[in-house]
Amino acid sequence: MTTYLEFIQQNEERDGVRFSWNLWPSSRLEATRMVVPLACLLTPLKERPDLPPVQYEPVVCSRPTCKAVLNPLCQVDYQAKLWACNFCFQRNQFPPAYAGISEVNQPAELMAQFSTIEYVVQRGPQLPLIFLYVVDTCLEDDDLQALQESLQMSLSLLPPETLVGLITFGRMVQVHELSCEGISKSYVFRGTKDLTAKQIQDMLGLSKPAMPTQQTRPVQPQEQAFVSSRFLQPIHKIDMTFTDLLGELQRDPWPVTQGKRPLRSTGVALSIAVGLLEVTFPNTGARIMLFTGGPPTQGPGMVVGDELKVPIRSWHDIEKDNARFMKKAMKHYEMLANRTAANGHCIDIYACALDQTGLLEMKCCTNLTGGHMVMGDSFNTSLFKQTFQRIFSKDFNGDFRMAFGATLEVKTSRELKVAGAIGPCVSLNAKGSCVSENEIGVGGTSQWKICSLDPTSTLGIYFEVINQPSAPIPQGSRGAIQFVTQYQHSSTQKRIRVTTIARNWADVQSQLQLIEAAFDQEAAAVLMARLGVFRAESEEGPDVLRWLDRQLIRLCQKFGQYNKEDPTSFRLSDAFSLYPQFMFHLRRSPFLQVFNNSPDESSYYRHHFARQDLTQSLIMIQPILYSYSFHGPPEPVLLDSSSILADRILLMDTFFQIVIYLGETIAQWQKAGYQDMPEYENFKHLLQAPLDDAQEILQARFPMPRYVHTEHGGSQARFLLSKVNPSQTHNNLYPWGQETGAPILTDDVSLQVFMDHLKKLAVSSAC
């Protein structure tokens, strides 16, 4: 076991890949019977400080349909200077540059430790990064002020050659021209009218007469810059202008009458931003950053009318099919998102408002383009400010932790096909021999576009074993998968990262034990959760839960050890032991439960769930609970109501929230002010410890979690109480005695009950 754990960890660290199964069932039928699909979580740009990119381009297989990259798994004939593609078995000549190749003089990509390798492509123009700010001006003054400061701050963080642009919107949409001096100039668009890219281009005066002679020449950066110069300018040129512009941002001047929402043309503003970039810098890394303080209330993409008496849609409305604008708005944003994705740009949404802002409708924009979605109460909170700042954080090389316009291509060996991917990507519709007909997630392709990536962006990639039992795979042979990620590095370089992995095939009939041992329950839980969440976007909540339950029961039936009809006899091996618990918490998680969450919140949670890496995803599924006491060092404790004790301080991390909870006694002590007495310094330290730990988590996480400091009986304690397993409720409190834990007032089933049912069902022969 340990070996597998180590193996898994090693692989994750080296390749950023975790498979649900690390031994692959060798036939299709068997694979499907294993319930959890063969899939992996891939973090394409996992930070690898130990992996400097190589300064040349990859060698690819010459077969046009294959084009796999030379990798350590390839057989190489050093004499003939040939290599055989391990995917299509095509024999390829090495390029002339590899003339000196020999067994002792191998290029990096042939060495086993470089199963993941990054190439730098030197060709092509290097275009600066582009940041287009799209700013809502229907904000309260202090909010606007805070936002201005944040934007100013971001300017100072960007490299001077970065191109920036500014679009502001309220009732109208203004595209600010940055080049002119003296008078500040902006192009104004009606907030209620959708425009095609062509119209936007015409209206902004960007259409240039066709210049065929010049087009044939290699793209000239100057020329390109000229076209767009008016709206997108390098920071170093227009630093002052831009600062002034931001400084002079006024609240939307159109009067808002009592009982109305301000008219906010988010839909058109985004459309124009997308159109502007589409025309000026297609296929160049660019971020559209949308800062909005409320729901779109007019024009295409409107989410709610401007009458305050009509509240924004709730889940209830959606279920009752009562959300008038939702479908149309979603269509609008989806269309925008697809266009943006096609251009290789991404959209971030920073929505700060107390009420919903329409993230549900706009989620496509971020989900399909890999942009960030940040939700806060106000721009004037540290949550937003720090989150925003974190976007511009830099890695060990001093580069931004962001990459643009990536395409991920997956190549598989013959026994496998790609069924789909779930993550911040769109399909590129690349049909090929390794594309499965069976779609899971975004399928039907072997290539995806990920417009924006950061080192933690993780995709779930699902495979299908297609080998028929009639054609058994030779013992000891391995299946291989190659992930080729081409992207624009934040240093504006074009890079290609290639990860090639291989796993052994195993016969389920004979090697079930081995396969069981090779099960990665964490990865499996996350991958199943992604599937569930993906389904939840389009299906009714209960159906998804039922599906998850059935999958879990089938898995238990398959891999549990039990006597038929005897629940007490049910056992799961260690490799599966945590899986049901993950599923229990997943069922209760906001990703699948919409109760108590607004549609926006659901979208927000799901957005992050679909892109975080395995560790973070697990935290989201099952929050971590630490307990601090005088009895010893902090220890992780069960996420259970029984862990809530009077003399403990609890620190809960749900990814989205960090909750520090003082037990009843501790809280009393604190009120009594013991921490200020020198003789109780240890108490002071005890109080401080979780704060420090929380700080640590806060520092590292994006987006900033909501930080909650509460105590027994505090209103905010609900954050904790809603997460823990309700092992003690008002129904069963007394049998457990008064000493332990806190009762949760809920009718939700506890883990114990859940497990009991699971066992019963698993051993039953009925299903």
Binding site: G182, I183, R190, L195
Partner: protein, 1096 residues
């Protein structure tokens, strides 16, 4: 006959009724009495009298005379009126023998008619009626008359004696003719008339029914004639009169002379000739006019020679073959006379139906209950009582209203009356506003509406006792009870959306395309605006104007400017979505000038720089206006857009236009399309503008065709103005443009106005001309209205009017003042009503008439070919004059052209209208020029149309230098120019200085600062500033002329025999124009011909 005489006919005529019965009877009796005559008589009478007298007659004769009945009615009144004037005449007539009266009657018919009824004499009665009908009919009547006279004379005359005498008197009244003729013995005269009547009658009689058959009748007439003559002494009389007067003399020779006269006047004499008698008759009719001599006017013309009647006619006719221009009515003379006669005393408006002095006369007005002529002028101050009369006379009944006219400083502007929360007092039924004509009754507790007769309660707070005359005791303390013009403060009920209006806004919208930049226009304009903004109109003593301003520039896209006072720099906002225009900002777009001065100045400084390098040549137009309108809408205020535009809007946008100018269309049926807008976009837009109270003033600076016809739609419908500066060059046109701009910006305007003209029962406003929009048939909606804007309103009868109560007009204008105050301006005017056509003709205003006719024609060309419009005008004019000739003028030779005194300038002015560029374009006149002129005329007032159509030509060097008064004008004809003089010509738009080739060098030197004529630069637009009396005087004169006109007139110096002279000559409207327009003399002949055709 029977039918005619039968009672039925009678009723129609209200007044005559009592008389008629008797009359008829007498007729009857008379007729029967004379058995023999009856037959012939019947024939004659039948057609004639019955017809004219009353509808019933018409019935009998129905087919032929359908047109006649009305005329007859009309005549009756005329007769009466005339009568009244000459009361004494009756007596004289009385004494005269029965035959005489009879005879006279024919002559005097017009006058006598009313009386005649009273008289018992049928003949007399008939006669009066007779005249009024169309010429043919008239003659017929005459014949009838005579016959009847012949027949009846004996019996009734004596018996009825006096009744008729009066009629006779009337005849005698007409006699004044005789007076005129002086030499005529009364006795003779009548015979003459009879005789005349006879001959004339016969032929006409026959002819009358079939109008066309002028020839056939003669034959039939021939035989009768003799009988007639035979029966009567007329024959003698006949001879007599000719003897006396040269004209007549000639006439006996069988009309040849008259004919010749005619020929002299007209081309068509020949036809006249063949039927000599008819011609003759005509003459007689003509003499009629003179007969009417009693009219004061007439007296003078006669002796004066200007009249055409006999005197001038006879001498000239044959020999010269051409009229002596000096003998035809001279506008200059008329203007001069009016100035001398009426300029000295103030015009007091207390009396109903007073004709005000001419617009060319300087006079003061004292408002004593009727609106000043500066506000309202009418075509006639005496309205026919019935529509039949009105139709017969063809004189349009129209009022030219200038509700916000500027008054000279000596006259107080209208008082503002505040009735508090209850608002102005109005009639409950017709909603007319309280005015001096309202009758208070029941001790002041109620008042009767003078318009609809509804009786209304007087609200307690308005109650006041009446004095012994029935007037309210406080009448003199209340403007609305004592003045013709005053204002009410409107309450919130009179405001849009029941909210008091916000102060209006001005938005300057500047074309910044390549053309505008290149000509320097933008720089000039921006520079000017900086200072001009300090002179926005303000109300009363307000310290600063309440008006907010905004700025937009545009080419293919629009640029709005945020000039909020808190900004350090203006912000430009570009709207490229011209297809769906909107306003990008609210706060900061319309600002107070003083608060945002720094930002505005900065903006105006920068605009020329920003676009200095523009390459954009395409412009949009409709979106520009729409943007301004939307801005006002967003700001919830009314206002005005100043659009400075250079080129045809060809950029892709709503209202895009194409160049459709096509000179080939001129004089075709499709010519009208040149004046119609290309697209309906602008109408729709204008409608929206009007709803918002958005007035558009358009300044055009075209280098080529810009389609003024289409671009002017919005300004036109929103009460705006258009200024056009073709081929604008800063050096040449700067002064003119800036001057116009200054005046346009500074002038006082009312916004969001609705004007309604209410009339007393009997007439109704039916048609409106001017720059405004109408969404229904009664309310004139004006987004903006300035002091120069004029609305011409035409009235029609819908019932009969009453001589006693007259006709009342009340023009109520609801508007927002430039300070944002909602007000009602009321103008009241009372007119007389007449039953005699002569009264109508005596109280006409030709200038106003021309104003109406020009507007009518200029609108007509939108729908009909220009030729049709011209013909209509001529026909109408001919009908007016023919009607006069037939009904009001004393008999005279057909060759004589007799014009009513008040309308003697009608032909010359009408000719000017016909020759104007719009109706008769010269080769060098562009379509845009015509459309522009058409647009201008539409909202011109009477003074402007007067000088526009008949330019003023002032000799500069003739009067002594010391004299401070304006030199007397000369007639606009080349013949009047002496090559040793310098003349100045102006028509309100253009200003020329014409220099004769042999002007003294000294004069040239002192005016142009060059040594000789040849050194004067042709086309010079400025006179050098020289320190000598002549130069000062001329420049002073030019300045004062410019000050008189609402637009700056650019000066052009033209040298005799120079190329430029062609342009100048175009304004010498009495001459033949290059493009074929007739000279005054030719046109007069033409007119005469038309009239004669109508009369025959």
């Amino acid at each position: 006959m029977n039918v005619n005489q039968s009672a039925p006919p009678v009723p129609p005529f209200g007044q005559p009724q009592p008389i008629y019965p008797g009359y008829h009877q007498s007729n009857y009796s008379g007729q029967p009495g004379s058995a023999a005559p009856p037959a012939s008589y019947g024939a004659y009478n039948g057609p004639v009298p019955g017809y004219q007298q009353t509808p019933p007659l018409g019935v009998s004769r129905a087919p032929p005379s359908s047109g006649a009945p009305p005329s007859s009615t009309a005549q009756a009144p005329c007769g009466q009126a005339a009568y009244g004037q000459f009361g004494q005449g009756d007596i004289q007539n009385g004494p005269s023998s029965s035959t005489v009266p009879m005879q006279r009657l024919p002559g005097s018919q017009p006058f006598g008619s009313p009386l005649a009824p009273a008289v018992s004499q049928p003949a007399a009665v008939l006669q009066p009626y007779g005249p009024p009908p169309t010429s043919a009919q008239v003659t017929a009547q005459l014949a009838g008359m005579q016959i009847s006279g012949a027949m009846a004379p004996a019996p009734p005359p004596s018996g009825l004696g006096y009744g008729p005498p009066t009629s006779m008197a009337s005849a005698s009244g007409s006699f004044p003719n005789s007076g005129l003729y002086g030499s005529y013995p009364q006795g003779q005269a009548p015979p003459v008339s009879q005789a005349q009547g006879h001959p004339g009658i016969q032929p006409p009689q026959r002819s009358a029914p079939p109008l066309a058959s002028s020839f056939t009748p003669p034959t039939s007439g021939g035989p009768r004639m003799p009988s007639m003559t035979g029966s009567l002494p007329p024959g003698q009389g006949f001879g007599g009169p000719p003897m006396n007067q040269p004209n007549h003399v000639s006439s006996p020779p069988q009309a040849l002379p008259p004919g010749t006269q005619m020929t002299g006047l007209q081309g068509p004499p020949p036809p006249m000739h063949s039927p000599q008698q008819p011609g003759y008759q005509l003459q007689q009719n003509g003499s009629f006019g003179p007969g009417r001599g009693p009219q004061p006017n007439y007296g003078s013309p006669y002796p004066g020679a200007p009249t055409f009647s006999s005197q001038p006619g006879p001498p000239q006719p044959l020999p010269p073959k051409r009229l002596d221009p000096d003998a035809i009515p001279s506008p200059i003379q008329v203007i001069e006379d009016d100035r001398n006669n009426r300029g000295s005393e103030p015009f007091v408006t207390g009396v109903r139906g007073q004709v005000p002095p001419l617009v060319t006369t300087n006079f003061l007005v004292k408002d004593q209950g009727n609106a000043s002529p500066r506000y309202i002028r009418c075509t006639s101050y005496n309205i026919p009582c019935t529509s039949d009369m009105a139709k017969q006379a063809q004189v349009p009944l129209a009022a030219v209203i200038k509700p916000l006219a500027m008054l000279p400083p000596e006259e107080a502007s209208p008082y503002v009356v505040d009735h508090g929360e209850s608002g102005p007092l109005r009639c409950n039924r017709c909603k007319a506003y309280m005015c001096p004509f309202m009758q208070f009754i029941e001790g002041g507790r109620r008042f009767q509406c003078c318009f609809c007769s509804c009786i209304n309660d007087v609200p307690p707070q308005y109650f006041q006792h009446l004095d012994h005359t029935g007037r309210r005791v406080d009448a003199h303390d209340r403007p609305e009870l004592s003045l013709g013009s005053y204002e009410f403060l409107a309450t919130v009920d009179y405001c849009k959306n029941n909210k008091f209006p916000s102060p209006p806004a001005f938005i300057f919208m500047i074309d910044v395309s390549y053309n505008a930049i290149r000509t320097g226009l933008v720089r000039l304009l921006c520079e000017e605006l900086k200072s001009l903004l300090d002179y926005l109109p303000r109300e009363g003593g307000a310290e600063e104007s309440a008006i907010n301003v905004g700025f937009v520039t545009y080419n293919k896209v629009l640029h709005f400017y945020n000039v909020k006072s808190s900004l350090a720099q203006p912000q430009m906002m570009v709207v490229s979505d011209v297809a769906d225009m909107f306003v990008p900002l609210l706060d900061g777009f319309l600002v107070n000038v003083n608060e945002s001065r720094a930002v505005i100045t900065s903006l105006l400084d920068q605009i020329p720089e920003i676009f200095a390098d523009t390459r954009e040549t395409e412009t949009v137009f409709a979106p520009v206006i729409q943007a301004g309108m939307e801005a006002l809408k967003a700001a919830e205020c009314a206002g005005k857009l100043f659009v400075f535009h250079t080129s045809l809007p060809i950029a892709e946008a709503p209202g895009k236009l194409k160049n459709r100018d096509d000179r080939k269309l001129i004089n075709t049926d499709k010519e009208k399309t040149l004046f119609q807008p290309q697209t309906s976009v602008y109408q729709t837009l204008a409608k929206e503008c009007v709803a918002q109270g958005c007035c558009v003033d358009l300044f055009l600076f075209p280098n080529q065709y810009v389609d003024v016809a289409t671009l002017s739609v919005v300004p036109q419908l929103t009460g705006g103005s258009i200024y056009k500066y073709a081929c604008f060059q800063v050096e040449n046109d700067q002064e003119r443009f800036l001057s116009d701009l200054r005046r346009d910006v500074q002038k006082v305007v009312g916004f969001d106005a609705v004007m309604r003209v209410r009339t007393s029962t009997g007439i109704r406003a039916v048609d409106f001309f001017g720059a405004f929009y109408m969404s229904n048939t009664t309310d004139v909606e004006l987004a903006g209205l300035d002091a120069n804007k004029t609305v011409t309103v035409e009235f029609k009868h819908d019932d009969r009017l009453n001589e006693e109560s007259g006709a009342l007009l009340q023009c109520a204008l609801l508007y927002t003042s430039c300070a944002g105050q909602r007000r009602l301006r009321i103008h009241n005017l009372a007119l007389n009503c007449c039953t005699q056509l002569a009264d109508l003709y005596r109280n006409c205003e030709t200038d106003t008439l021309i104003n109406y006719m020009a507007k009518f024609a200029y609108r007509g060309i939108l729908n009909s070919p220009v030729k049709t419009v011209r013909d209509t005008l001529i026909t109408q004019c001919a009908q007016i004059l023919a009607c006069y000739r037939k009904n009001c003028a004393s008999p005279s030779s057909a060759g004589q052209l007799i014009l009513p005194e008040c309308m003697k300038l009608l032909p010359v002015y009408l000719n000017c209208v016909l020759k104007s560029d719009v109706l008769h374009p010269g080769a060098e006149v562009t379509t845009d020029d015509r459309a522009y002129a058409r647009q201008l005329v539409t909202s011109m007032d009477v003074a402007e149309t007067n000088v526009f159509f008949y330019p003023r030509l002032l000799p500069l060097t003739k009067s002594p230098i010391e004299s401070t008064t304006e030199p007397p004008a000369v007639r606009a004809s080349e013949e009047r120019l002496s090559n040793g003089d310098i003349y100045l010509l102006e028509n309100g738009l253009n200003l020329f200085v014409w220099v004769g080739a042999s002007v003294q060098q000294g004069v040239v030197q002192s005016l142009f600062n060059v040594a000789s004529f040849s050194q004067i630069t042709s086309g010079l637009s400025v006179l050098p500033v020289l320190d000598n009396p002549l130069s000062k005087k001329v420049r002073g004169l030019i300045d004062s002329l410019r000050a008189q006109r609402s637009r700056y007139m650019k000066l052009i110096v033209v040298k005799q025999e120079d190329k430029m002279e062609m342009m100048f000559k175009n304004f010498l409207v009495e001459d033949n124009s290059l493009s074929g327009g007739e000279s005054y003399v030719d046109f007069l002949c033409h007119m005469h011909k038309e009239i004669r055709q109508l009369l025959s």
